[in-house]
Amino acid sequence: MPTTTPSTIPTVTSSMTMAQALNAALGDGLREDERVLVFGEDVGPLGGVFRVTDGLTKEFGEERCFDTPLAEAGIVGLAVGLAMGGFRPVIEMQFDAFAYPAFEQIASHVAKLRNRTRGRLTLPMVIRIPYAGGIGGVEHHCDSSEAYYAHTPGLKVVTPATPDDAYWLLRDAIADPDPVVFMEPKRLYWSKGETALGDRRAAAFGRAVVRREGRDATLVAYGPSVPVALQAAEAAAQDGRDLEVVDLRTIVPFDDETVVASVRKTGRCVVIQEAQGFAGVGAEIAARVQERCFHSLAAPVLRVSGFDIPYPPPILEHSHLPDADRILDTVDRLQFDDQPDVLHLAREAS
């Protein structure tokens, strides 16, 4: 049985895109542990439709990084069997909506096997899912599906917002003893940032981070919404409103401490998610925050999200996606009373 080889990867810091950072994490993961395998649709010679697996087959060979037949339940089920057999699969679902055929394998097996077997069988595996929109993709290529996984006990759910987090969260996910659903915000694949690669373990996994300090209100965001939240905070600063921005990074487990500390400090909170709002992760955050910060809150916790509609066609996606303006409008409502605009508008509408 192959085992972990003590890895000696020099630490180098450089500017790269999130896609490159993920590619580096996969390479270092494959290098660090012979049990790591990368497979999925078009991840081999092509290097993935987003090039995240670029060059891996060339460097590590067909045995370590390979293309599977076109079947997502098959990919996940194969990973379950390989993990039962002692390997550490890191698999790719080509797009968010194309992970749905694997939903039974994920919900009934990946999430449950450790528990079913009292820990005698474990599934150290990573399911990489490029998700969310903002790239002009056609239908079924832009779903925000994180809530489906976050609601499923037994899955850890991670989503980076910077190349550096992408690298370290993926390294941590690969080394994690449990299955991790690794949600990659498509539109951030090409965003650049300073990234420290190499041989250390980051503390990112399971810990939210304050991306911007502020006094007046807390914006809680994750994945694709983090840059939008920061943009809104910058704009608000012009109007003299000082917003704090928390980047969750890990949805499951959830970092209550960081979020609660921030909201107790600012006394106001807006939760931002790109996904349709109803029963999404943002609802969980809002519910938790008011449960834990009720007496510190000067206003209700408000949510900014996509609408409860199927993801729009490209020419209309900008109307759907939360932008800085939608966030700022909502921040403005933090001052209001029990009658939020929406109800009032609803009456107008009906």
Binding site: L70, P101, P310, P313, S319, H320, D329
Partner: protein, 368 residues
């Protein structure tokens, strides 16, 4: 306590040992296997005209991606024999369940090209009227449409209509569980449906050898008790003959069929794909020799069914069609943001009305 399956039963469900062929690559006629009538000459000439137009449309669509008029386009160049025969085998009251790859087939069925391109242009998810055209929305989630096709076929039977349903799917799509479930449902329900696999040898970058170890995909039929056939997918005469008999077999209550066409995707998966990463040009060149359009042109000319004049007129019609497409696609697509809330349900929910109102306030805010 189980019956013996006779050689006859088995042979009746297996495809021909080699792909059915009427015309060799050099355009000369070859002897097809028994039981496959040659299509009428008029149909073949009509098919030729549509192939010329289809190929020109395909080239135009690819060009539109370069001009930023299409978000993306999956070309079917090299698969025209399948695209055209697939729709010529159908009547108006038949239904077609196509994929993103099959825009040429839709144009050949007479759908408005701009409506067909609405999806890839980003204007809406489906630009044409599926009910009026009897063409389901082009399907992206692989193989999912094959089960819908079975349901529609059963619906036609229940309504006493004599319509038949054809479901298009690629070689890669046959690996999905939904394909298996669809074939089994079709066989058990004895539904009037034809599953037409365009085996173009690639699923994006994944070659057939990594997709299946079967002697041919058509050999999947017998596992469902479904008759099956394989055909040279670059020989329009053969594809049209085989599909027509499969469709008529279904129409007359004979049940479903599986037909595999051996063809080749000449271009990359889409304009966004780089095929040099996974296949060599030599392979592509070898398939150039098997070009379905040139083959049909030679064959029909050789039989005196085409002359220079007819060829010229077919090309002229194609040029005019392409010009019209280019022109109409030059206008920016129109879109009303409030339509986002109109079709989620028959009536928007109170929550959607709130959200619509929120968007309205955002839009007025940005106006002033």
């Amino acid at each position: 306590m189980s019956v013996r399956t006779t050689r006859e039963t088995v042979d009746g469900l297996l495809p021909s040992p080699e792909p059915v062929r009427f015309v060799a690559e050099d355009g000369t006629a070859v002897q097809p296997p028994a039981g496959y009538p040659a299509p009428d000459d008029e149909r073949l000439v009509e098919a030729y005209r549509r192939m010329v137009l289809g190929r020109r449309f395909d080239r135009q669509a690819t060009a539109l991606t370069k001009q930023g008029r299409l978000a993306v386009y999956p070309s079917s160049r090299g698969q025209e024999a399948c695209q055209i025969a697939g729709v010529l085998a159908l009547r108006e009251n038949d239904w077609l369940f196509p994929t993103y790859r099959d825009s040429v087939a839709l144009v050949a069925r007479g759908l408005d090209p701009v409506e067909v391109l609405t999806l890839l242009r980003g204007g809406w998810h489906c630009g044409y009227d599926p009910a009026a055209t009897r063409v389901a929305p082009q399907c992206t989630p692989l193989a999912t449409q094959t089960i819908h096709a079975v349901g529609m076929a059963d619906a036609l039977r229940r309504k006493g209509e004599d319509g038949v349903v054809m479901a298009f799917i690629g070689d890669g799509g046959t690996s999905e569980g939904d394909f298996h479930e669809a074939l089994n449902y079709a066989a058990v329900l004895h539904a009037p449906v034809v599953f037409f696999v365009q085996n173009n040898k690639y699923a994006i970058s994944v070659p057939l050898a990594k997709q299946s170890a079967a002697p041919a995909l058509a050999y999947k039929g017998i596992g469902y008790g479904m008759r099956s056939e394989q055909v040279d997918g670059n020989d329009l005469v053969a594809v049209l003959s085989v599909l027509t008999s499969a469709v008529e077999h279904a129409r007359t209550g004979g049940g479903p069929s599986l037909v595999e066409a051996h063809t080749y995707r000449m271009d990359a998966h889409t304009n966004a794909d780089d095929a040099t990463r996974y296949r060599d040009s030599g392979e592509v060149e070898r398939w150039e020799a098997a070009d379905p359009l040139a083959r049909l042109e030679t064959y029909l000319s050789g039989r005196g069914l085409l002359d220079a004049e007819e060829i010229a007129s077919a090309r002229k019609a194609a040029e005019e069609f392409a010009a019209r497409v280019r022109e109409e696609m030059n206008a920016d697509p129109e879109a009303d943001p409030f339509e986002l809330f109109d079709h989620v349900f028959a009536e928007p929910t109170p929550q959607l009305r709130e959200q619509r109102a929120l968007l309205a306030s955002e839009l007025t805010a940005t106006e002033d």
